[in-house]
Amino acid sequence: MSAILERTSTEPRIGRLSRRHFLAATAGGGFALALGWPSASDAADPPKYGALGMANGVVENPLVFIAIGDDGLVSITCHRAEMGQGVRTGVPLIVADELEADWSRVRVVQAPGDEPRYGNQDTDGSRTTRHFFMPMRRCGAAARQMLEAAAAARWGVPVAEVTAKNHQLVHGPSGRTLGYGEVARAAAALPVPATETLRLKKPADFRYIGKGNVPLVDGPDIVRGRAVYGMDVVMPDMLFAVVARSPVFGGTLRGFDAAAALKVPGVLKVVEIKGTAIPSAFEPLPGVAVIASNTWAAMNGRKALKLDWEGGPNAGYDSVAYRATMEAAAAKPGKLIRTQGDVGAAMGSAAKTLKADYYMPHLTQAPMEPPAATARFKDGRMELWGPFQSPQAVRGGVAKRLGLEMDKVTVNVTLLGGGFGRKSKGDFASEAALLARESEGKPVKVVWTRDDDLHHSYYHTVSVEHLEAGIDAQGKPVAWLHRSVGPTLMALFMPDPKTESPIELGMGLTNLPFAVPNLRIENPEAAAHVRVGWYRAVSNLPHAFAIQSFVCEMAQAAGKDPKDYLLELLGPPRRIDPRELNDTWNHGEDPTLYPVDIGRLRRVTATAADAAGWGKTLGPGRGLGIAAHYSFTTYVAAVVEVAVGAKGELTIPRVDIAVDCGAIVNPERLRSQMEGAVMMGIGNTLGGEISFKNGRAQQNNFDTFEVLRMNAAPKRIEVHMIPGDYDAPLGGAGEPGVPPVAPALCNAIFAATGKRIRSLPIKGQLSA
């Protein structure tokens, strides 16, 4: 089979790349790499935004992403990681649409980790569609024009007379046709058209974009048990490993005795993994690995290890005591984040003031597939296979840790059995690589058990949000004070930071778009005692929970309807430059292209409320709650309906969620992301908590770490998608559905029972 580009997944090569499309790799440690900090390398350079601001930016060369065989089969490479958000369907369908390819003759190829070749691959921050919609359209259009040019040359006619349509090239005047496969070879030899000569399709001519008519690429394999996740990698002569890790973050291994472990049948070897001093970023925790001929033997070998741990600086961490520490911090002023007017004076003259503290515990991603990775070290080359959200970060991490050149490390990306932020950290991949180096060329699969996952995660932070408000005699908001306290994820990358980064603050706190004349936002200090990472929607979770709950409390105090009061706080439709709100991050996006659009936030609020029948009469013990939140450049509002029984039994008959993420590429998957966001938001709120005692996570499995199950799930979820303009900037979809869910649920519980939930999880609070 010939191809526009011949390639193999394990030996990426540069091929015929058009260098001018390349952006230089930007500098940046794990922080910039992982979170999308605008990456101006020095102050003299203009800032780069969006995809261009990410490490290794964008590659738009069709020869990298599209291959067409003589048989006409179109292979489209997806360079982003699939974790359920639908990118292996959504990204290729963009290319296929502009290419005028027949979807039934398209196959999807997964790219290995190689950002210089593919552009940024860090699948995080709800960025894939937002950043790659236009680049992928241009790739598809360029390949289509190359096919048209090749057909025109074959026929000896002007290229303007040739049109690509549904996998065929048609010569208008004569009606002659050629299949894509018949000219693929010739097309591959033509120059890639310059960007300014590309003819993009009109949205009215889209075949797949916005239609929801493309079935999930991996659906048939998933339902037959054939889909391959990181945990499922199988290779000849494979070995299996589990690792006993320091139970406390920052602990060290004094010594260990492996004699009993080595007597367990099937156990082959015991290997120590050295830890890295804090801040340890994505490096493995210190541990002792048991390598065996099967997973079960490795687990039994681990049980037989005798380990002597030194607890280290976090051995006293107790999340109950730490809550009191954070509440004390929230009671006093902290680092000033934003101010307007005079909050102190306005509070003093307000007709009514109210205040509340909101607590959200540590949470964890707990993807259904625990972390797992396979590595093989042979002839000086390291090859890995696994569920990696950021394969280039894995590549860099492994190369650095093992002292290998980057080109000696190959990272293959399997399907991810859920990610939610956990699998953007490559600690488990580096473990596999370190063990493979000790295994004489045999592949080693590191398997994390569920207790490993819950005990050694990169947890969602823990937080206290302190809010105060003043309202005037007419119930209007006149003063707003917010102190946000929570350990920062920056502690992964720098020694002992105590305040939050602009990224965390920019998730619904700094950029609060309320029309309140006097406003003050502060960030008192808090120290991290565990690996604080990012979990779907990150700091938006506590910010939205506190702010949107407090809005409802203010409405109650003002004697007004919560939805009306929310709209009053939002104020009139207007576009706010995020810089006016002191938000320097703005999700890494250009503030002129991505203002905070109050009109859009109002519209999703009204849409969700109308669809839910806001204002309707409900029976006793029933209620509606509303919340709206802007995150990842997308506007979402949710209305939750609850029924609470006499003994506090909670059921959720219905949730309405309205989303405006701009233009919609795959409405079917946008809908599923919103459904999933509702479920995850409710699970976080009802039972989600990781607590710590003596520095150790107290939850071992799904009996004590409670996640949502079908019996507690909403009976019905209605997703309302606001259509957008394909020429306007796109928003994210993976995360922004989650933040409004917790406050909408708690506001509904208040409406139903008069009970205000300020501390999560809800657990037994309704029966108390």
Binding site: R226, M368, T449, R450, N701, M710
Partner: protein
């Protein structure tokens, strides 16, 4: 030694009798459709049929499967066209998909005993399964669709 059948094929097992069926399937037979999620029968990802009944492979030791017939997701239907598999694809149930083998196996056992399950029947049968992506409303709809089309 244990003699068993897996998806109709006779198998002999010699080894640790305490080893869960899950690791025999995954590591020895290299049949990875049956998933590891919790190891303690708390999430349902490893659900297979033993003599037709749903069991959690992660807590079913090999000593308990001697003489038994095991069916996994790979063997649920020779052509992968079980009504549940068809409905799952038609309704776009999976997100990440990792838990779905177990969900489908549980649902298949439900429909075998209860051809027209009510919503409450479905919730009772399926609440031992966790989907972190939150596909529960679609799972319910797919079971109902498969039931009406005859599983």
């Amino acid at each position: 030694m244990a003699s068993l059948t897996v998806n109709g094929t006779a198998r002999q097992y010699e080894g640790d009798p305490d080893m869960p069926l899950l690791w025999y399937l995954r590591d020895q037979l290299q049949m990875t459709g049956t998933k590891f999620g919790c190891g303690q029968a708390l999430c349902g990802a490893c659900t297979v049929h033993m003599d037709g009944a749903p069991v959690r492979a992660c807590v079913t030791p090999m000593v308990a499967v001697s003489g038994r017939s095991i069916v996994t997701i790979e063997g649920l239907d020779a052509n992968g066209r079980h009504p549940l598999q068809v409905a799952w694809v038609e309704l776009g149930v999976p997100q990440c998909g990792y838990c779905q083998s177990g969900q489908i196996m549980q649902a298949a056992a439900l429909l075998k005993n209860n051809a027209r399950p009510s919503e409450a029947d479905i919730e009772t049968a399926m609440s031992g399964h966790i989907c972190r992506c939150g596909t529960y409303t679609r799972i319910k709809a797919a079971i109902q669709q498969a039931a009406t089309k005859g599983a």
